[in-house]
């Protein structure tokens, strides 16, 4: 970013301008965000467990895991953006007064887990995504349920009955 851009960025208040893939297809699902959050958690676990017997291989694995963690952290943010901008309506935010706060928290956590190897934030990110998913299904007038995932993270996923 140039100096001019930095100055402008500091001076002006920011508003969101939508440039979405918005043929209004009506197909929305928090599943992708959940999978991405599980992946972030898994990569964080793997990074913490990395073996250093072969330093070249360790460096190689760290690079790959970090890349996947970064990618899926972004994916969480993108998927949340789609739900926030395309699916959730003002009445949803009114009915579920913590929805906006949860989305904001999840976005911040998705940045934090990319910046660090932070297991607690990764778990918190997943939990926040699960709470958003529960609200999503409630807005669809179905009952959300939490089930244990079959992923190595052994965390939960939210689906509905």
């Amino acid at each position: 970013m140039t100096l001019l851009s930095i100055v402008i960025d500091k001076i002006f208040k920011e508003t969101k301008a939508c440039a979405h893939c918005d043929i209004p297809c009506g197909i929305y699902d928090p599943h992708n965000a959940q999978m991405a959050a599980h992946t972030v958690l898994r990569m964080t676990n793997l990074l913490l467990d990395i073996q250093r017997e072969n330093e070249t291989k360790a460096k190689h694995d760290i690079a790959r895991m970090t890349h996947v963690k970064e990618e899926h952290g972004h994916l969480v943010e993108d998927e949340l953006g789609t739900l926030e901008n395309d699916y959730f309506k003002p009445e949803h935010f009114k009915t579920y007064s913590n929805l906006g706060e949860l989305i904001e928290k999840a976005v911040k956590l998705s940045i934090l887990v990319r910046q660090n190897i932070d297991i607690e934030s990764s778990k918190e990110l997943l939990e926040t995504i699960l709470q958003i998913s529960e609200i999503f299904y409630k807005t669809k007038n179905v009952t959300p349920i939490r089930v244990k995932s079959v992923y190595p993270t052994e965390g939960e996923i939210v689906t509905y009955k």
Partner: protein, 95 residues
């Protein structure tokens, strides 16, 4: 109404010019003196949202807009043509 406004792009319909997360500066100064033109990139509001699109056609003071990324964009077919009063500003600078 501010003469200059900053917006953060959300979505992919204006790629490759604007990527998701890009920040842009717009101004409404030009439109105080002249009408929007074809190819102007404008930020405008509808009932629920603020959008950024390119003007592709003008008929009887109605502005038809579209995203640059045609595979990935809502356009006037979906929400109708917009009026000048809905336009918040013209894109002038990408941060």
């Amino acid at each position: 109404m501010l003469l200059l406004s900053k917006f953060k792009i959300s979505g992919h319909s204006m790629e490759p010019l604007f990527l998701h997360g890009d920040k842009i500066l717009t101004t409404n100064i030009f439109y105080l003196f002249k009408s929007p033109q074809i190819n102007d990139i404008v930020v405008f509001k509808d009932i629920t949202n603020v959008f950024v699109k390119r003007i592709t056609k003008i008929i009887n003071d109605k502005y038809f807009v579209s995203g640059d990324n045609q595979n990935d964009s809502l356009d006037s077919k979906d929400f109708g043509a917009i009026s000048k009063s809905q336009i918040l500003g013209k894109f002038i600078y990408k941060l």
